[in-house]
């Protein structure tokens, strides 16, 4: 309650010395190291997670991108083989550009909204889905379900699907596997089965519409196009039959007149569901509840804010330690390496105490003419010779700090010897 500064205890001794910068730094480090360790661990974990995640660039599977995971090579080959490739950047555009008999390649399904998916589902074109999300699968191929990823490299197709059979072994690398639900209607072909799990490519023929689900994007990318039968598989699926004559009406969609390549952009705000704010979604009662909560907080604040009486200020007397000036002078001596003044003060103090012990008048302590007398008297009562005593009591200033400390000890020793003699 009282704000007076506690007085410095006179018996503080050496324990009360202010801590050195090193001690302060050490203390801070010890108190902060737990936090630092946690932060460091979080950074390391974040870096590891980021490194483990397969990197996909913004232009992955883009038919105009020449990057490693782009698909410009495939698009070019398709065009050279006479199949026009129309690039669509949103679902509406894709549906508009598709004509009967064309194949729609749907990539990056995570960017498609619910509305986009229903629009695509209602379009009467053949679909090739590349690594679709569960949402996209549910809308576009409701008979196919995800069955976990696999890292096995695929070998022979092991199925009757012409596109796969003609392509032979492909290199799918990391791939999704699928299972086909029992409620399926229409012809189902499953290819590239893993050792234990399901197939990696599923083709469902449902009425006039063929939906092919491709578990891996590798066959389409610039980087992997040349591996094994990747290029063949991709081109077979998308329309150009690389191996000989095309048989119209066969189960392979090789007769495609054009390819609509859908690479959706990120849906912008303000379209469809994005327009609804949080407020629109909350029930009215909850809004009133929150409003009333704010009122309650305000009332509690008013309750706590009104204090029972004023804060009392009080003028306190000044606190100055009396020995402050002496301590200041000591620090000045030290900063200026004033060994001459320090040694003078120590010597005259010692003489002042020695003189009454020797039975000499007090005034002789500071009297230079009495020097010899004092030195003789001290040497007489101590085991030291006059030169030693003279150097201690009247000698030149010490050459270094160690000399000053030694001088103080010598003076103490002389004083003790004289006192005891």
């Amino acid at each position: 309650m009282v704000t007076q500064t506690p007085p410095q205890s006179a018996q503080a001794g050496p324990g009360a010395e202010p801590p050195s910068a090193r001690q302060v730094a050490g203390r801070r480090w010890r108190s902060a190291r737990g936090v630092v360790a946690v932060l460091l661990a979080m950074v390391v974990i974040a870096v590891i997670l980021a490194a483990l995640r397969p990197a996909t660039s913004a232009e992955a599977l883009d038919p105009t991108s020449p990057k490693q995971d782009g698909s410009r090579a495939l698009a070019e080959i398709l065009r050279q083989n006479g199949t026009p490739v129309h690039v669509a950047r949103d679902a509406d555009d894709a549906v508009r550009q598709s004509a009967p008999g064309s194949v729609m390649l749907v990539t990056r399904t995570e960017r498609l909204t619910r509305e986009d998916l229903t629009r695509l589902a209602s379009a009467q074109v053949d679909l090739v889905l590349v690594r679709p999300t569960s949402f996209a699968l549910a809308d576009l191929a409701p008979w196919v379900r995800k069955d976990g990823p696999t890292f096995e490299d695929a070998d022979e197709p092991g199925c009757t699907m012409q596109a796969a059979a003609l392509a032979g072994a492909v290199s799918l690398h990391e791939s999704e596997t699928y299972e086909v639900t029992a409620s399926v209607t229409g012809a189902v072909t499953t290819c590239y089965k893993t050792e234990f799990g399901g197939p990696r490519v599923v083709q469902v023929r449902h009425g006039a519409k063929t939906v092919t689900v491709l578990g891996s994007a590798s066959p389409l990318t610039n980087r992997r196009l040349t591996e094994e039968g990747n290029a063949a598989l991709a081109m077979n699926l998308l329309g150009t039959n690389t191996t000989g004559a095309d048989t119209p009406g066969s189960d392979a969609p090789g007769s495609a007149t054009s390819v609509v390549w859908l690479v959706p952009d990120i849906p912008t705000e303000g379209t469809a569901a994005g327009q609804q704010s949080l407020g629109d979604l909350l029930p009215f009662g909850v809004k009133l509840f929150i409003l009333q909560l704010l009122v309650a907080v305000l009332l509690v604040a008013l309750w706590r804010g009104r204090r029972l009486g004023p804060v009392v200020a009080e003028a306190l007397p000044v606190v100055v330690r009396s020995a402050e000036t002496v301590e200041g002078r000591s620090r000045l001596y030290r900063a200026g390496h004033a060994r001459d003044r320090a040694s003078d003060a120590l010597r005259s103090g010692a003489r002042e105490r020695l003189v009454p012990l020797l039975g000499l008048p007090r005034s002789s302590a500071q009297d230079p003419s009495a020097a010899q007398e004092i030195v003789t008297a001290v040497a007489h009562r101590t085991p030291y010779d006059e030169t030693y005593v003279g150097a201690a009591l009247y000698g030149p200033e010490p050459l270094d700090d160690a000399g000053l400390i030694a001088l103080s000890d010598v003076l103490d020793d002389l004083e003790r010897q004289v006192r005891q003699s």
């Binding site: 029972l308 004023p310 003060a345 103080s408």
Partner: protein
């Protein structure tokens, strides 16, 4: 007006209602209910404006002791007052309890006892009394703050009281009133009394002995009715903290012991506290009320952070006292302050008066002078030796002017000053 936590809690519970009946009207109903509760509570709460406060209790307390101050709350209203009451004092008054609950029926009074344990010397004034009267529902309260003036003067502790019996015994020895082995000192014939074993045979008054059947000794006593003028320096040097307490408090303590002793010895004691103007003064107090007067004069004194005006002090003193007296100056042996201030004026003062200077030395300087071992301690020791040498030189110079100098650490200054006074008394120099 003040709100309570219960209102906040109710508002919080009220937030649940619109969850079940989501409508604006529900919310308005909750607000209406809360508002009605508040209005009702404020209307029905005990009237704080109809309260009267009265005070009773201690007006003085010695530092370190506890005082009791009562606050009497009188309810002139027509309703019972149930309230929380806070008697507001400054922090250093150490007032407890901080808050009390009072229940005063209409037309009656209740007493609230506050205990004060001050931590500082001086006057402590009650700031105000705050009453918060809560309504019957406990949702809202009327609050009022009204002054109830009272001042408690915190007197200096006078810790050197314990030295007084010893010094008085020594004084009785001097006066010869003590039945003792020592003949009374002094030159004034005091009285005759019966001889007791151990009295000096030289003091036997043979003529008086011859008249009576008893051996009678003469007693002497030192001169009485001398004037002593205590002068306290309250300037910047008195603010320095020596050990745990300011130098001024040590000086006060020494002055009180000397005052008590001298008034018992039959001398007239006056006191003056001065820095650039007169801060406190005790003059012409009788023997019995000297100490209370001094204690009261000392209580509100605080060191001022200004240089003491020695010339003003000397001229004030010279104007007040014409006859010869012992001037005891309680100050600090600060070379700069002394050489520029008091030293040139000393001849003026010593020509008419006997001057004694009492200074409190800092034990920390002694500790520093004894420091050895590392460089910092040795430089400390050197600086301390230098300070001591300055002090010695100043003391020698003052003694050269015929001034008595008493220089002692804080716990010894009071007895040392009393001893110096007794020595002067014994020597008949007053």
């Amino acid at each position: 007006m003040a709100l309570t936590g219960r209102l906040g809690l109710l508002a919080l519970l009220g937030a649940l209602v619109p969850l079940f009946v989501p409508s604006w009207w529900t919310l308005f109903a909750v607000w209406g209910a809360l508002f009605l509760g508040v209005v009702l509570d404020v209307a029905l709460a005990g009237n704080v404006r109809a309260l009267r406060f009265h005070r009773a209790g201690d007006k003085n307390v010695r530092l370190g002791e506890t005082a009791t101050v009562s606050l009497i709350v009188e309810n002139l209203g027509r309703r019972r007052l149930k309230a929380r009451l806070r008697d507001v004092w400054p922090p250093s008054a150490g007032a407890t309890p901080r808050m009390v609950k009072v229940n005063v029926p209409a037309g009656e009074r209740r007493r609230v006892d506050m205990t004060l344990t001050p931590t500082r010397r001086g006057d402590r004034k009650a700031v105000t009394v705050v009453v918060r009267s809560v309504g019957p529902l406990g949702l809202a309260a009327r609050q009022l703050s009204r002054p109830a003036p009272w001042t408690v003067r915190v007197l200096p502790a006078f810790p050197s009281r314990r030295h007084l019996p010893a010094k008085l015994a020594r004084l009785r020895e001097l006066t010869g009133a003590h039945v003792a082995l020592i003949r009374g000192q002094g030159t004034e014939f005091d009285s005759l009394r019966e001889y007791v074993d151990g009295d000096d045979v030289r003091s036997i008054d043979w003529r008086a002995t011859a008249r009576r059947n008893d051996v009678v000794v003469r007693t002497w006593r030192p001169e009485r009715d001398r004037r002593i003028y205590l002068v306290l320096d309250t300037g910047r040097t008195s603010a320095g903290r020596v050990g745990d307490i300011p130098r001024l408090d040590c000086s006060m303590d020494a002055a009180m012991l000397l005052g008590a002793l001298a008034s018992r010895a039959g001398d007239r004691v006056d006191m003056l506290a001065y820095d650039r103007r007169v801060r406190a003064r005790v003059e012409g107090a009788s023997r019995t009320d000297l100490l209370p007067a001094m204690v009261h004069a000392f209580a509100p004194l605080e060191p001022e952070l200004i240089e003491c005006d020695a010339a003003g002090m000397v001229s004030t003193l010279m104007a007040r006292v014409r006859q010869r007296c012992l001037v005891v100056l309680l100050t600090e042996l600060n070379t700069a302050a002394m050489e520029e201030g008091l030293l040139p004026l000393l001849p003026q003062l010593t020509a008419r008066h006997l001057v004694m200077i009492a200074a409190v030395s800092d034990p920390r300087v002694g500790e520093m002078a004894a420091g050895r071992g590392d460089l910092a301690s040795v430089y400390d020791a050197a600086a301390a030796e230098r300070a001591r040498a300055d002090r010695r030189r100043l003391t020698a110079e003052l003694r050269g002017h015929g001034v008595e100098v008493v220089d002692a650490p804080p716990d010894e200054i009071a007895p040392a000053l009393a001893d110096a006074y007794l020595a002067l008394k014994a020597a008949g120099r007053l």
